[in-house]
């Protein structure tokens, strides 16, 4: 005879506001097999958990039903409590009264009735629960970090410094990411390159880090602790061992007019190129789409001049397979590009540029060596306008969110402009100034008060050219919506930060979820900001949402700690919610008839054939066998099995049937 305890939680008012919790507990107390039933305000709290533990000990409970929230967050909590009181944790079930009932229904009789039903079906189910033991799997103590921007660099260094191996892959020829493009950084105005490049070098030289640039993830299989990744190392068309990085090839390459990605199109590069002088690794790649040899079949100037004979025109992409235990995604973001704002003339007027382009103009390593000169004619702009929220917070443009970093970098841009162009006039059109952060507000005030940047609160409706000036037509909402027109020499758009192209595809390869804007989704918005819904895969930086440098670095360190914690054990425990093929006494051995439909149905290749042999070693029967390390407990095989020989532990056919019958009041 079962002795089941039912514990009904109020969840503060989350459940009790619409469900009569006392009545639920009282009703459940009358069910067959229920030995104890109680309601309490916060069952997950310490006193709540003690209530469960004491009842298990005092009443000798054989099963527990906690009627509270979704099992997503607190199933581990309650199972742990049961285990501490000596009950097998898998004898504990949760009825989801909050998400499935109280949150979605009005207060009333029917709502309480539904809550009672939800409890009853689990009381019946738990009667058929069996004690289960966790599965142990080994951990491969190597992490894969995808993306070599500041987040990926920080995560790699932090993991590597705990003594674990890291494989860092970067799709571009150099690590450094967007941060390497920036001029100075807010709120301290320290030079971005000066704080970043030493870390880039550290990555390249760290004994625990293997760096692959010009490489992308091809595919991923496996599970936490035991992933197998295929990495595509794109052909650089050079032999990296022979190349000394002397740079002769890049000076002699005849194709010199390719817009430089690093300079956001404001400078030019050659077809064989190093993205920027401080690149890591400082060795060139050939951009095959623009190389004369690959287009016309002749040229080979680089091969002729190379003193070490390092050019390899016939080099092919390599697919490399690596075994890893954890992954940090740090693929970053991009800024929204032209044609998005026909009314602002981006793409039509060369002197309407993006914030990232302004960074290159202001940077000492940029095309103007740090002088603010406009792209059209190289003149120093006497009047410059910055537009905040160019796309962000604009549902009509499809981007309702705040890009977060723009308010600060615009203040920085305007400040840099004022520092570099004495007597110049700068204007910022803004909706609100969002300067939440340590010393951020003070920084913006400095731009306004010390450097004389004119902040105009209002939106810009149009930018057009007139007599060689860019007319910025907007409104000043603090002057009673007075229309304002500024005849500027240059305009900088703080275009929205958006997810990278291909983010969706990468998320699907990694089996992680993403939001409607293709930013990767964290497992919990507050309590699990660096975890994804897939165990063993973590997030760092702006691939999750627009983030500034301090936040990206903090996230990266957070993700690194999660990886280090995972690697701190030699074995991982996994829930035993997996499929099993039944075994019976001879001469049947198992009801499995060996049709192996399940083998083809299994998406994880977790089912194999097992031969049952007699004492003489002769095969008597072939049946299916589930590899507990690979099985993810999806249940597809259960639906396919014709003889009902496979069951998911904890969710057996019998348990499911019992739940349905309980709902139909058959018990």
């Amino acid at each position: 005879m079962s002795k089941i305890g039912v514990f009904v939680c109020h969840c503060g008012e989350n459940i009790s506001a619409t469900v009569d919790c006392a009545r639920v507990a009282e009703t459940a107390g009358n069910y067959d097999g229920v030995a104890f039933s109680v309601d309490y305000k916060y069952m997950c709290s310490d006193p709540g958990q003690n209530l469960i533990k004491n009842a298990i000990k005092e009443q000798g409970l054989t099963g527990v039903v906690v009627a509270s929230c979704s099992p997503r967050m607190h199933e581990p909590t309650f199972r742990k409590a049961c285990a501490e009181a000596g009950l097998n944790p898998f004898m504990c079930e949760m009825a989801n009264l909050r998400e499935h009932c109280s949150w979605v229904h009005e207060k009333g009789e029917a709502t309480t009735e539904k809550a009672i039903d939800l409890v009853r079906i689990l009381v019946e189910k738990v009667k058929y629960n069996h004690s289960l033991n966790e599965i142990k799997v080994p951990v491969t103590k190597t992490a894969l970090v995808i993306g070599g921007g500041i987040a990926g660099i920080q995560a790699s260094l932090d993991i590597a410094n705990t003594g674990h191996k890291v494989i860092l892959i970067e799709k571009d020829p150099s690590i450094g990411g967007h941060m390497s493009q920036l001029s100075e950084t807010f709120p301290t105005l320290d030079c971005s390159q000066c704080i970043l490049t030493p870390r880039m070098v550290e990555v390249a030289q760290h004994p625990n880090i293997t760096l692959y640039t010009y490489a992308e993830l091809e595919s991923l299989e496996g599970f936490i602790g035991n992933f197998k990744a295929k990495i595509r190392r794109k052909s650089k068309s050079i032999d990296e061992k022979l190349c000394t990085g002397c740079g002769l090839c890049t000076t002699k390459c005849p194709v010199k007019k390719i817009p430089s990605e690093f300079n956001e199109g404001l400078g030019k590069r050659t077809a064989i190129y190093v993205p920027f002088p401080q690149a890591v690794p400082n060795k060139p790649v050939i951009d095959r789409a623009n190389c004369t040899y690959y287009i016309k079949g002749k040229c080979k100037v680089c091969e002729i001049v190379c003193p070490t004979g390092a050019i390899r025109f016939d080099q092919e992409d390599q697919i490399m397979e690596v075994e890893i235990g954890a992954i940090v995604i740090a693929t970053g973001f991009t800024v929204k590009q032209p044609d998005f704002f026909p009314e602002y003339g981006y793409g039509k007027f060369p002197d309407v540029i993006t914030g990232l382009q302004f960074e290159r103009l202001a940077s000492a390593s940029g095309p103007t060596l740090g002088e603010i000169r406009r792209p059209s004619d190289g003149k120093i702009p006497e009047k410059i306008v910055f537009l905040a929220c160019a796309g962000s917070r604009d549902p009509a443009k499809g981007i309702p969110y705040c890009s977060k970093i723009c308010c600060m970098y615009i203040a920085k841009h305007a400040m840099l402009y004022q520092h570099k162009v004495h007597g110049g006039k700068s204007y910022v059109f803004y909706m609100d100034i969002r300067a939440g952060g340590k010393q951020y507000e003070e920084f913006v005030r400095r731009a306004i008060e010390d450097d004389g940047v004119n902040y105009v609160r209002g939106r810009v409706s149009r930018i057009y050219e007139k007599n060689g000036k860019l007319i910025v037509a907007g409104v000043d909402t603090l002057l009673n919506a007075m229309p304002v027109e500024i005849d500027a020499d240059m305009v900088v758009l703080a275009t929205a930060g958006v997810a990278n192209e291909g983010a969706e595809e990468l998320a699907q390869k990694l089996h992680v979820s993403y939001d409607p804007y293709k930013f990767f989704a964290e497992a919990h918005p507050k309590l699990k900001p660096v975890e994804t819904n897939t165990a063993g895969i973590f997030l760092a930086g702006a691939c999750q949402a627009p983030r500034d440098i301090p936040e990206s670095v903090a996230m990266a360190s957070g993700a690194a700690v999660k990886v280090a914690a995972l690697f701190s054990k030699d074995e991982l425990t996994r829930e035993p919610i997996i499929a099993v093929v039944n075994r019976q006494a001879p001469p049947v051995y198992s009801s499995c008839v060996g049709c192996f439909l399940c083998v083809s149905a299994c998406p994880y290749q977790a089912i194999e054939k097992e031969e049952i042999k007699n004492r003489n070693g002769e095969v008597i029967k072939s049946i299916a066998k589930v590899n507990p390390g690979l099985c993810q407990g999806c249940g597809t095989c259960v639906a396919f099995c014709r003889t009902k020989s496979i069951d998911i532990q904890g969710y057996t056919n019998e348990q499911m049937y019992t739940e349905v019958m309980a709902l139909l009041n058959e018990y």
Binding site: F341, P342, E343, K348, A396, S461, R462, Y464, E465, K466, I471
Partner: protein, 280 residues
Amino acid sequence: MTLGFYPGCSLKGSSREYAESVLALAKAFDINLEEINDWNCCGATAAHNMNKELSLALPTRILSLAEKQGLKEIVVPCAACYSRLTVTKHELAEDSALCSAVTESNGLEYTGSVSVLNVVQFLDKYITPNLEGKVVKPFDHKVACYYGCLLVRPHEILKFDREEDPQSLDTLMLKSGATPIDWAFKTECCGAGLSVSRTSSVGRLSGKIIGDAKDRGAETVIVACPMCHSNLDMRRDAINSYLGEKIDIPVLYITQAIGLAIGLDRKELGLQRHFVKVTV
């Protein structure tokens, strides 16, 4: 072929030439535009400022009458009428309770089966496919196509052209042999109803439009809205006094420009009715 025709108040009054040119063009392409019997005011700006249900009931009545008359598509040349009719259709389709309230107060059946075409959609669908070969006198001028506020807004409802940088009139004019210019004031406000109450404001707002068109070398401004036309044409004195110069660029309805290109009579197109003499 027969299509429905809803002229609205402007096309019977201050912009008769718009109606004349639409009808003349339709006739030249063997299309019969059948006016909706007993049509009423679309409600314009006044109705939706005062009473939402009234602002929907008036256009619904027009659409119901068109249904009753067996019309499948109606041509609505006035941009404001087009906006009211389209927005009404959208709102009634979104809210069935509102739909029954409105149709009940009208006492006329409404199923929403009638499609509403603005002049650009009408030209696109029925005129330009057969335009080639009919152009006898290409409209060989630099034109500034002016869309105003209502023709392409709000995009969520009209789902027509690009809101901030529309192209449809430019494409049509290109097909008629004209050279559309790239300019900055395609969708800026002309001053609209301030024409009567604050003429000087219209002088300033429309002045910027005409001024920019002239600066960029336009020989003609092309419009598809009676309100725009009246402000840019009839208020030219106010515009010129704002600009401090005399600008005599004519403002043509797109139907007039295409009419000229296919060799229709100037009088048939109502060109003599303009305040700024049409010299092109």
